[in-house]
Amino acid sequence: MSSVGAIVLYGFREAVRRKVFAVVVLLTAIFLFLFWLANHYVFRELANIQPPADVNVDTRTFAGAFLMGLAMFATLFLGVVLAVFLTLGVVSGDAERGLLQPLVVRPVGRGTLLLSRFLGAAAVSTVYVLTVYALAMLITSETGHWTPSSKVAPGLELAGGVVIVIALSLLGSVALSSTANGIAVFMLFGAGLVAGLLGSIGHALNSHTIQHASTIAAWALPFEALYQDGLRLIARDETGITGFLLQLGPFGGAYVHGWGIRVWAAGYLVIALALALVAFARRDL
């Protein structure tokens, strides 16, 4: 096994011991059951929903996209919980506990150590997010006979968003204690979500100021923009009043979208990781 593999395994075993996986798996199982229940009842009652005669809404598409948007939000949230708990104490937390010092004096070095922890957390979180996303899509497809316009890209964007959060958490762990870092990353995550919702409200109200603030937030916190873009993609082909209603949100935003934000998200990830590496290299332990 290479030194990278040894560090990845080390981080993985730490997460297993701290029961991070057990908690996340339990929460995921509960969520998926509730999601199935919601799908089951919503689609069963679909025939009884009668929109006004002059409003031409595709109720199945609206319900399917709305529920899938809800599932994407839950997947992102659970993915971020997993990612943050895997990484919040990688530097300061482990240094305070005396776990880090014996490792960083080895020839493998700080950079490899940090990148290995990143790779391990990113691999686990990506597999988790894609699995939950696929299961949610399967539930909606089986119970409601509705599938998103784009099936793969939204899952990848969700996973990308979680990977960015991992990089931010690692960066925070260099300077902040575990508790402070966890709080900071969750506040950033919350701020991103609020900014996304504000964007939806701003567009509904046609408020340029709110739209502008939301756009800035999307570029400053691109994990939110990737999530919003994923929401946009699941109902990409919907037009007319159905598409308009979905765009109103809360699960249908994406006013900053496309390849521009994806490329920026990749660049942002590289910058966050580079800053974490530089900060870690300069940190006295």
Partner: protein, 280 residues
């Protein structure tokens, strides 16, 4: 041949606190050097700079000719931190295997078995760290520091959690390492331990090196004690060279001489004199 450790004008500042004020120190090949000083003297900071955990504010530190903290330097050293912990869910054997991977050691299970034997943990290879006493963890820490046959071993308070038997095990281990040519910088509060095993001693106080040399070089003559039929008489200021004369004088004056002992200061005396009785 280059020194295992060479420190020149080493400085470290933490905000307004100057932890090291231009320290010079060398640890030669196969030499065992003891680092002494009260808490806050800068001992741990010096060791941390040498292993690359802390960056120096000034001066130079080299391990086997390579800049301290560089990959080449880290490849030559083994380190036991004062405050360390291994993952509780790892067994002793797994801890060593992890460090073999990180150190690039190809010693395999044979090296792990040998190291556990060295620190008297051969029977605990499969025991989880969680289930070990503090002393056992400390000995495992020493075994971990020896992974990959380091040229320089830096031990920060390696016997602080050990009982007398454990301390003796470590002392014998250090003597064996010296025979094998491993250089050791031993940071410890236990003066008797340092006096017993170290070739040289360096005493730090307030970030400065206030004394250095072999225990013999550092010791001062404290007189000669002559035991006669009149009792024990201590001649202050006399040295080893004065002993024959003092015995001859006693015999000449009709005294029965039962013994003569040259008195020198202990390392404890030297230490207390150097630090001016300062404690933490």
């Amino acid at each position: 041949m280059t020194n295992a450790l060479r420190v020149e004008g080493l400085e470290k500042r933490y905000g307004s606190v100057q932890a090291l004020k231009g320290v010079d120190l060398e640890v030669g090949e196969g030499e065992l050097v003891g680092l002494l000083g009260p808490n806050g003297a800068g001992k741990s900071t010096l060791v941390k700079i040498a292993v690359g955990l802390v960056r120096a504010s000034g001066g130079r530190a080299e391990v086997a000719g390579a800049r301290a903290g560089s990959r080449a330097a880290r490849a030559e050293l083994g380190y036991l931190a004062e405050l360390f912990r291994f993952p509780g869910w790892y067994s002793a054997d797994e801890v060593l295997a992890l460090h073999q991977h990180l150190a690039g050691s190809d010693g395999g299970s044979e090296e792990r078995r040998r190291l556990l034997e060295l620190v008297a943990l051969a029977d605990a290879a499969g025991r989880r760290v969680d289930g070990m006493s503090k002393g056992m963890q400390q000995r495992l820490g020493i075994a971990q520091a020896l992974v990959g046959k380091p040229r320089l071993l830096l031990l920060d308070e390696p016997t602080s959690a050990l009982d007398p038997v454990g301390r003796r095990t470590v002392r014998l281990l250090l003597e064996r390492l010296r025979e094998e040519g491993v250089s050791v910088l031993l940071n410890s509060h236990l003066l008797s331990e340092i006096e017993l095993v170290c070739d040289r001693v360096a005493i730090l106080l307030g970030g400065e090196l206030v004394a250095a040399g072999s225990p013999t070089e550092l010791s001062r003559p404290r007189g000669v004690e002559v035991e006669t039929d009149e009792g024990v008489r201590t001649v202050e200021g006399a040295t080893r060279e004065d002993a024959p004369r003092l015995v001859a004088e006693a015999v000449a004056s009709g005294r029965q001489v039962y013994g003569v002992r040259v008195l020198t200061s202990t390392l404890e005396d030297v230490y207390l004199e150097a630090v001016g009785g300062e404690t933490d």
